[in-house]
Subunit: 211 residues, 2 copies
């Protein structure tokens, strides 16, 4: 498989964790999202692959190009069911996916760089932009804290799809200096993931395109 | 099943469509989101059910309370596989889920009422708020237009998960007077859905709590 990825992209990080947890090999194809360095995601070559111009995108072993991290992660779960990321119980799967969706829909999109740039275009200064980011991350993590379990990863002793979404979101929280003091369960999950080889391998600090 | 729903909520509308396409009966429990009318989603009774204070939430026949429309829709697909909303082909499922994720992550969250209220708190007037909404909806629908098929619903002759997300998004676009002129494929899907009993049954105009 080939993964179009950017080291610091939250949604690329998710897919890298899923691949690593499942022990799947892939070739990383770095897409530099920095506008001042050419913004490869906005170039015709990449837009032809992904008309939305975002990362990640996954080229499967059958040659299909898949986009959107939630769709890619469900694909990996269905195509490579060894090392499952979801419980076998239907309601429990829904609880796990709910945390993933809360992070993927109600937190991350609100501090995507395109949104922050729109706020800057509208004249908001950096303290206001940080206030905006902090508001959505804190509100979302407070809900996550109430939804996840009391021990282990988000839902039990093995990492799953909720952790695949949570850990990249915490990386973003850290970049913006958002305190996790109010979220002891989340801090517990973060501490476990920090020691787990798959999360370490997938981390933005350890990518081929990390500066 | 019981569905906590609000007639005009985009994500409640999605779940209602999925239920109707699968021919599943449920009891609708209306949650009035209007702050000036008490904001039932912010009251302790509802927050005890769903700490995030959002709709929809689904009470399953086994008594489990599920939240987050993407998780609820995947649950319905797994628990009631008759009338499938996803293809049987793994890559095609990913293409279908990608359109759902694009709408559910990259369009809808950006014009959620909580985001618009934050912009208003920051002093943006209604023309600016409408510009904000229009920007994200138009950008997202332009990508959807390139990802869906040339005939029938988004992906073929029967409605599926992409349509479950698209039609409520178009209802929102209509509320904000956003033109669909540039999206002939999307307009084709909208015309088909407008005649389909499940989409009609699920429509905000036809709910018990419609004013």
């Amino acid at each position: 498989m080939e993964l179009y990825t950017y080291y610091r992209s939250t949604s690329s990080f998710r897919v890298r964790i899923a691949l690593a947890l499942k022990g799947l090999d892939y070739q990383a194809l770095a897409v530099n999202l920095i506008a001042a360095q050419g913004g490869e995601h906005r170039q015709p070559a990449y837009l032809q692959l992904n008309p939305q111009g975002r990362v990640p995108a996954l080229r499967t072993d059958q040659g299909e190009l898949l986009i959107q991290s939630p769709a890619i992660i469900e694909y990996l779960e269905e195509a490579y069911p060894q090392v499952p990321l979801l419980s076998g119980n239907l309601a429990q799967r829904a609880h796990e996916r709910a945390v993933a969706a809360l992070i993927g829909c109600d937190i991350h999109p609100l501090h995507n760089v395109s949104v922050l740039n729109k706020l800057r275009q509208w004249g908001h200064d950096e303290p206001q932009v940080v206030e905006w980011i902090s508001h959505w991350i804190s509100q979302g993590l407070a809900a996550v804290e109430q939804l996840i379990g009391d021990a282990g990863y988000c839902f039990g002793s093995a990492p799953g799809v909720a952790d695949v979404y949570l850990i990249p979101q915490l990386y973003a929280a850290e970049r913006f200096n958002i305190s996790l003091d109010a979220y002891p369960r989340i801090r517990r999950v973060a501490a476990l993931a920090a020691q787990h080889p798959a999360f370490i391998k997938a981390h933005p600090a350890n990518q081929p395109d990390t500066p």
